[in-house]
């Protein structure tokens, strides 16, 4: 981990006022979510909140319901019970389009890029909700059909620059190595200028160097764009370094919720998870 980054993190987590204004009010509340698949309970009665500007991690052993939780938050799964309170409105359930159009973007555990398109086009898809040109304008590439393309390209180029993927701009993503695909996927999410960014195991399968890069990008996104981040990650070092607060799930239930330090010291967590994973 990059030194300056973890220092910044530490000061923020021990003293939320240390970085003036970085962490604000609650913007999302998960309220008593219960989710079943057939007869199996994937999530049972889980509640927690996410504050504006923080990095919130969701951890837990395999099958703890972490990914399902993210899927509920951005509306891909509709839970049987409970609701999502987001930015002043209650959604029960959240629908994918609501989530996307209200500034929730995400990446996926197994990369879900559009394989036949280039890096540039993939990231451009992140801007789709912001494009308003009519079909005719697009068909003739006139008016907004043209001006929007240029305008959003400019923004997308900033994302590309930010993620340092200039060299692969026009490469079809199917040909890229895994680490770069993950980065492109992050780019697609960032292109939507999300208020809340959900990252599902952004570092899975990466080597150390790639993990460091990715951590740096996550910190930069959080600090410089003020984007709130909810993160699922298995690498405990990364989680503890990056997060302001951590939710621990186990077998679909909430096990603990607090700062990395609190969670680290929580006996239930140690028993269920950390003690085993921290080898």
């Amino acid at each position: 981990m990059n030194d300056t980054a973890s220092t910044a993190r530490d000061s923020a987590s021990t003293d939320p006022g240390g970085k003036p204004g970085r962490i604000g009010d609650v913007i999302l509340r998960v309220e008593n979510i219960t989710m079943r698949f057939g007869g199996v309970k994937a999530i049972s009665d889980v509640s927690f909140d996410i504050r504006k500007g923080e990095v919130r991690s969701i951890i837990g052993p395999n099958g703890a319901g972490k990914s399902s939780m993210l899927n509920v938050v951005n509306g891909f799964y509709q839970p049987q019970e409970g609701s999502i309170w987001y930015n002043g409105k209650t959604y029960s359930p959240m629908r994918p389009h609501d989530a996307a159009s209200n500034g929730i973007a995400r990446t996926f555990q197994n990369i879900a890029l559009f394989k036949g398109m280039t890096t540039l086009d993939n990231i451009m898809t992140g801007r789709i909700l912001k494009q308003k040109a009519s079909l005719l304008e697009q068909a003739f590439y006139i008016g907004r059909g043209r001006s929007e393309e240029l305008e959003h390209r400019e923004f997308v180029e900033e994302v590309i620059d930010f993620l340092e993927i200039q060299a692969i701009r026009k490469t079809p993503v199917g040909r890229l190595p895994y680490g770069l695909q993950k980065r492109v996927e992050l780019g697609r999410a960032l292109a939507a200028q999300p208020t809340l960014l959900l990252l599902d195991e952004p570092m899975a399968g990466m080597n150390l160097e790639e993990k460091e890069d990715m951590s740096r990008f996550i910190i930069d996104v959080n600090e410089h764009f003020g984007t709130t981040i909810a993160l699922i990650e298995h690498d405990m070092g990364v989680v503890m370094d990056l997060s302001d607060r951590v939710v621990v799930l186990d077998h679909g239930s909430l096990l603990a919720d607090g700062t990395p330090d609190e969670v680290r010291k929580n006996q239930a967590v140690i028993d269920a998870y950390l003690g085993v994973a921290h080898d």
Binding site: A8, E158, D161, F162, Q166, A167, H224
Partner: protein, 672 residues
């Protein structure tokens, strides 16, 4: 020998297209001029955010003035030094001009140096301000800041990662420029007044040269030095405002300063910066510069890549490629030089241009090159003529920081692969008694900054500068550099002996990896040769010659025969050159092992350690100089690749080589 003769080129008549340097006598004044004259023409481009972002001269002038105003408020005073550390970015170049606007002196520093290397020039130049590219450079400076008491303020361009640094002396470029814009709005003549104060003989820049020994020296160059030299180079080559060049070599290097800054300001042409150092070749291809500079190493790498990539081509295409390349070797250079060539040859070449040369230049990005320079070290004749034969007007030039680059340039139509050309306009050249090349020109530096002793030993009272290189001017009036002056020796019969010159000639053969030539204070020249395992090995494979080891391969008669032919060829070349004709190689042997840095035979930068080798292989040298010995025997400790030590015990053959009489003598060069 004509040691005291002076060779010089007359000043060329000033060009009507270029500004009058008596009026526009500093770069900031030129900038104002260009903003008027070439206002809407591009001044700089930078590949960023996916396209070539372009800035016109008018925009650049406004930006430079804004930044200058901001810097002035930060406390820059006339005579201050401003360090510039960063990759080739427009803002880095603009900073040079900003400093000059304010009467301060830019000190460009190599951006890839580690913090410890940066420390000396910054401390020595008493730098108060540093303008740097990004977090990496900021971090370097912060790590040595407490040892740089004079350094007050750091301005960074790329805010990423630096934004939250707490240090109060860190400023973001954008913020300084924005502040400058406000100041200019209040007082529009703020910077113009400062620019007007600039004088032709003010120091314009202090680049630091890395000496082989001791600390780097700061070379104080005045506006006169840089501008006159750049101007002369520009009229010599007919540079114009429509030219485009790619700035990818370090800003701190004098060549880049002249080509990408000095000449760009004088001619008003456009300089483009690549996206980053990894994309240079792609960017080169996109941009297609008309004015291009690269050290021999880069031309060599490109050529190697070309050959390797062609190896993968289908048989037919490969045959076609080689057919036309062979043809180009025969007539390409002549066509480029405008000499008469038979119609059939010309048509064949035209077909080659369509099928091979044109596309090849295109994929390499050299299609539009009008003038290409290479310098810095000797370029292999094969490499040099490859580019010329496909129609790239590549030339060698000889220069130094102390000359503001130009000493000699190869004039169009008079390009020889073994010379570095004739004196540039207004340059006087002299070969000292010792054989050392000396020059005098408007570009001659003012002094070594804060180092009068060094200045004195490098520059005579009447302005002649020692280059430290040995060379001579041939009968065509072209300068030929043979070696560093201190390495040049003499044979017992008094003939000049330039080991590196001979070694380089041999090393241009792909089969030869390393050469050590002996001859100083001996009767004749003889040498050790290392074959190139890869090249000779693949030759052996093709000819079904099996071998067990390097030592085995080196001892083969067939291999000796190949090398002997190479040596003979070199002798023949040497015989053509009056100065060195007497130092033809008489005998050689193939060393049974590769010279190796692990055994102390090479330096870590792969330079031959002559003295050490002479000692270690004394018996072999003795054998070389024993006319009766047909073999030599050596016992020595060696290190294997896996680090084990072992004993080398070998007997090697010694081969005599034919000597040729000098030019005009009785032999006829076999056509090859």
């Amino acid at each position: 020998m004509t040691g005291s003769q002076t060779y010089s080129a007359a000043a060329m008549p000033p060009s009507a297209d270029l500004p009058n340097l008596d009026i526009y006598d500093t770069f900031p004044k030129l900038l104002r001029y260009n903003a008027q004259r070439h206002g809407t023409r591009p001044s700089m481009r930078e590949k960023s955010y996916g396209i070539w972002q372009s800035y016109t001269w008018a925009e650049v002038k406004d930006e430079v003035f804004r930044f200058a105003a901001g810097m002035k408020e930060l406390g820059v005073e006339r005579g201050d030094k401003i360090a510039i550390i960063g990759d080739n970015r427009p803002r880095m170049y603009w900073t040079i001009c900003v400093a000059q606007c304010l009467g301060a002196i830019p000190v460009p520093v190599y951006q890839d140096s580690v913090a410890a290397e940066i420390h000396y020039p910054l401390e020595h130049a008493e730098v108060r301000f540093a303008v740097v590219e990004d977090q990496e450079q900021v971090d370097k400076l912060l790590s040595i800041k407490d040892r740089l008491p004079k350094l007050e303020t750091i301005i960074y361009d790329e805010p990423r990662g630096v934004r939250d640094y707490p240090q109060p002396f860190l400023h973001h470029y954008d913020v300084v420029v924005a502040r400058g814009a406000e100041l200019l709005a209040q007082d529009p003549s703020l910077i113009d007044d400062e620019v007007d104060k600039g004088q032709h003989d003010d120091i314009s820049i202090i680049p630091y040269t890395s000496g082989t020994t001791g600390n780097p020296k700061g070379v104080s160059l005045s506006f006169r030095n840089v501008m006159r030299a750049a101007y002369n180079g520009a009229i010599f080559e007919g540079l114009r405002s429509t030219d485009e060049s790619l700035a990818y070599l370090p800003i701190a290097w004098i060549g880049d300063h002249i080509f990408s800054y000095g000449q760009a300001f004088i001619c008003g042409f456009c300089v483009a910066c690549p996206e980053n150092s990894e994309t240079v070749l792609t960017d080169l291809r996109e941009l297609g510069p008309t004015y291009f500079f690269a050290p021999p190493r880069i031309f060599e790498n490109i050529l190697t890549t070309v050959m390797i990539r062609m190896e993968d081509a289908g048989t037919l295409k490969r045959k076609m490629f080689h057919f036309f390349m062979d043809h180009a070797r025969k007539v390409g250079v002549k066509i480029l030089d405008g000499k008469s060539v038979g119609l059939v040859d010309r048509l064949t070449y035209g077909l080659g241009e369509l099928l091979v040369f044109g596309p090849l230049k295109n994929v390499l990005g050299l299609t539009r090159v009008r003038i290409g320079y290479t310098a810095g070290e000797a370029i292999g004749p094969d490499i040099f003529s490859f580019y010329r034969s496909i129609g790239v007007n590549l030339k060698q030039l000889y220069g130094s920081t102390e000359a503001a680059v130009f000493i000699t340039i190869q004039p169009n139509g008079e390009i020889y692969d073994d010379t570095v050309g004739t004196p540039a306009p207004e340059v006087e050249l002299r070969i000292a008694e010792s054989g050392e090349v000396m020059f005098r020109s408007p570009g001659v530096f003012v002094e070594y900054f804060k180092n009068p002793e060094a200045t004195k030993s490098a520059k005579t009272e009447d302005g002649w500068v020692h280059t430290g290189d040995a060379g001579f001017v041939d009968d065509r009036g072209h300068l030929k550099i043979i070696d560093r002056a201190k390495d040049v020796g003499k044979l017992n019969n008094g003939t000049l002996f330039a080991p590196k010159y001979i070694e380089n000639k041999l090393k241009f053969f792909p089969n030869i990896k390393e050469v050590v030539a002996f001859g100083h204070e001996r009767d004749y020249c003889a040498c050790f040769i290392n074959i190139d395992l890869e090249a000779v090995g693949s030759w052996a494979e093709r000819n079904n010659l099996s071998y067990a080891s390097y030592q085995d391969l080196s001892s083969r008669k067939e291999v000796y025969e190949i090398v002997r032919a190479h040596v003979e060829k070199v002798n023949r070349d040497l015989s053509q050159e009056e100065m060195v004709a007497g130092s033809q190689i008489k005998r050689f042997l193939l060393l049974p092992k590769m010279l190796d840095a692990d055994d102390g035979e090479l330096t870590r930068t792969s330079k031959v350690r002559r003295g050490f080798i002479a000692e270690k292989y004394q018996p072999l040298i003795d054998a070389l100089y024993d006319p009766n010995a047909k073999t030599g025997t050596i016992k020595s400790e060696i290190t294997f690749e896996d680090g084990r030590k072992g004993m080398l015990d070998a007997t090697v053959d010694i081969v005599d080589v034919e000597q040729f009489t000098s030019a005009g003598g009785g032999f006829k060069a076999a056509a090859e």
